[in-house]
């Protein structure tokens, strides 16, 4: 790619190369990935819809006596209203916001915990590895719903979105930790790790500067999967009455409330929150793909 304009790129390097760090290079590569950039834009719009939208729209997500129930989409209520007299546009905004918050806290928390735990286990091996991996094994065999229900039940009736995020994050990091550990086990035998040790690098230096950057593809893939997992798991728990509760709302709760409407005149109650879940999962996946490619310098960047 740089061959197209050798003179220009050389000049640019002579001026800027001193300050162009690793991250600037990654950003440059990311912004060449068209699908990822388009997805990022859509995703930012969804976030704006969820968090800025409520400030601009007349109705919020609550039930108001002056809203007529079961109104088809119109200018007053673009997404229609539900049987209880709720403006569905306001509800969709709130629901998206709540689901996004849960999904991102889960993805971030479980990825950070999973990456560090997995890297530590894989790097130190021996008894450290044995203890950590047995703990994850035990958490794996406990039925997820049973534990989630137990914790949600203990919290009581006022389950908020951060409770949900916490419950889901407890289970989310297990897969990431396993995948990262497997990758690190093979990486730690590479010579560049020995080179870092020969230079006097500490274990922490090796883990954060070499092992985790070299597992980014695994980490990003599992982080994007976490987001989909979190949204679905949150819906499941809300459906069972263990998640976010009415009058507050989430995408899962909206879909659950609209079950049975998928094939009749109230279809919009079902498909709008459904489409939102798909759109979030899809854009996050594309952004994740773009990030993974941008961070892997060996990927040949073909214009897309």
């Amino acid at each position: 790619m740089s061959k197209l304009t050798p003179a220009a790129s050389l000049e640019a390097e002579a001026i800027t190369s001193k300050e162009r760090g690793q991250w600037a290079l990654i950003a440059r590569r990311f912004f060449r990935h068209r699908m990822a950039v388009a997805s990022l834009i859509v995703f930012v719009l969804i976030v704006a819809f969820a968090f800025i939208g409520p400030l601009l729209w007349t109705w919020d997500y609550k039930i108001h006596p002056e809203i007529p129930p079961r109104v088809s989409p119109s200018l007053d209520h673009p997404f229609g209203t539900d049987q209880a007299g709720r403006d569905m546009l306001g509800a969709a905004m709130r629901a998206t916001a709540q689901s996004l918050k849960v999904a991102f806290v889960v993805a971030l928390g479980s990825t950070v915990i999973g990456a560090i735990v997995g890297a530590v286990a894989g790097y130190f091996r021996g008894w450290v590895d044995a203890v950590i991996m047995r703990i994850t094994d035990i958490l794996f065999v406990i039925p997820f719903l049973a534990i989630a229900a137990a914790i949600a039940g203990a919290i009581g009736t006022g389950t908020r979105w951060y409770h949900m995020a916490f419950i889901l994050a407890i289970f989310g990091w297990l897969n990431t930790a396993r995948a990262v550990r497997a990758e690190v086990l093979s990486l730690r035998e590479k010579e560049f790790i020995e080179a870092a040790r020969a230079a006097g690098g500490s274990s922490w230096h090796i883990i954060t500067k070499h092992l985790i950057p070299n597992t980014t593809s695994v980490i990003i893939v599992s982080a994007t999967l976490q987001i989909a997992f979190a949204i679905l798991a949150e819906s499941t728990l809300s459906f069972l009455g263990l998640g976010i509760q009415s009058p507050d709302t989430s995408l899962g709760l909206l879909i659950q409330a609209a079950q049975g409407f998928a094939f009749n005149e109230f279809w919009y109650l079902f498909y709008i929150p459904g489409a939102m879940v798909i759109l979030i999962a899809l854009t996050v996946n594309f952004v994740g793909d773009g990030l993974r490619d941008a961070m892997d310098p060996r990927q040949t960047m073909v214009r897309r």
């Binding site: 002579a14 010579e191 560049f192 080179a195 006097g200 310098p297």
Partner: protein, 347 residues
């Protein structure tokens, strides 16, 4: 004879010395209780001395413990016994924290220039890493890295590129630049050119020689290529199955190798003159290297030794029962670990 041999070593005190280094890797049984069932004797009692501004070559076939010896000297792996003396201190007794400042003085260049560079780091970051680790990057690290890139013969404009964008020879230069970043006194070169094409080898070898002259470095040059060793080394030590079987200055060793194993290695060096090549004596070793987990008694080389087969039974007994020490009381000029050492001119 003895006095003459000792003079070159006595003149300069060694910069770094390994004494009676032994490294055994445990072999463990499978299952939950991993009992120790044996040991791989990777290095069995190796002593080496490297003087300042001197190149000591360590030669031997694959798996004879050359690389392990280099890592023992760097204190990257802990020896089973023996000591490494650097600046009057035994490195093997130091804690990790005490070892860190010394790491700056002893650096390593790897065999495989692809595997030894982090694929996710730019060249600049790779060379800057040792400086960052030791907190030296803040004052003038940027200029130092750029200067290093130029010193090893790369274009400083390429500092934002990644290792995979370079050829093998260029990558090895990056590895050398990284090793030089901390201004070391000793470089351990672990087969630095054996992964490169012959045409590229010459460039890297010349670079190493120039650097040694300019910076006053000491090299431990691990190799299995005797023609490269002859070119670069001042002293040579030949290893077989974890032991040094012969050592001497390069001139002495190539003039008359006294150990049958060295002779066999020498007879395999290709000669440029086809007439000489046809006329020369070829010593071909038969059989495989014995397992380092169960080395032969007495002389470790006797199972493949061409000389051993020609000996009488009484003489063979000695090889089987007695381990030959490194000795110089034979006709040649080197120190050879063979009961029946006799020099032979081969190249």
């Amino acid at each position: 004879m003895n006095a003459m041999l000792d003079t070159p070593q006595a003149q300069s005190a060694p910069v770094i010395a390994g004494r009676n280094l032994v490294k055994e890797f445990p072999v463990r049984s499978k299952g939950i209780v991993r009992r120790r069932v044996g040991a791989i004797h990777a290095v069995s009692g190796v002593s080496l001395e490297i003087g300042s501004n001197e190149t000591l070559a360590l030669v031997g076939e694959s798996g004879c413990g050359k690389s392990t010896t280099a890592r023992l000297l760097m204190n990257l792996i802990e020896p089973t016994s023996g000591e490494v003396v650097y600046e009057g201190r035994d490195l093997t007794r130091l804690s990790r924290k005490q070892m860190r400042p010394i790491r700056r003085d002893i650096q390593l260049v790897f065999q495989d220039p692809m595997a030894s560079l982090d694929p996710r780091m730019t060249v600049f970051e790779i060379i800057a890493e040792p400086l960052r680790v030791h907190g030296l990057f803040k004052n003038g690290g940027r200029e130092r890295v750029n200067a290093l890139i130029e010193i090893v013969g790369l274009n400083a404009e390429h500092r934002n590129r990644y290792p995979h964008e370079f050829s093998g020879g260029q990558r090895q230069r990056i590895g050398v630049a990284r090793a030089l970043a901390l201004q070391p006194k000793v470089l351990m070169l672990d087969e630095p050119v054996s992964a490169l094409d012959v045409s590229i080898q010459a460039g890297v070898i010349n670079l190493l020689e120039d650097l040694q002259e300019e910076l006053g470095l000491s090299y431990l040059f691990v190799s299995h290529d005797l023609s490269v060793v002859r070119h670069i080394a001042d002293k040579v030590a030949v290893m077989y199955l974890g032991k040094i079987v012969e050592e001497g200055t390069t001139a002495q060793l190539f003039a008359g190798p006294a150990h049958p194993y060295t002779q066999a290695l020498m007879s395999a060096i290709p000669l440029p003159d086809p007439r000489k090549e046809r006329a020369r004596e070829r010593i071909v070793l038969e059989g495989d290297v014995p397992s380092p987990s169960n080395p032969p008694s007495g002389c470790r080389f006797r199972t493949r030794c061409p000389l051993f087969k020609t000996l009488s039974e009484g003489q063979q007994r000695k090889c089987i029962d007695l381990e030959p020490p490194l000795r110089s009381d034979h006709e040649g000029q080197t120190r050879a670990a063979c009961h029946y050492a006799a020099p032979k001119q081969l190249v």
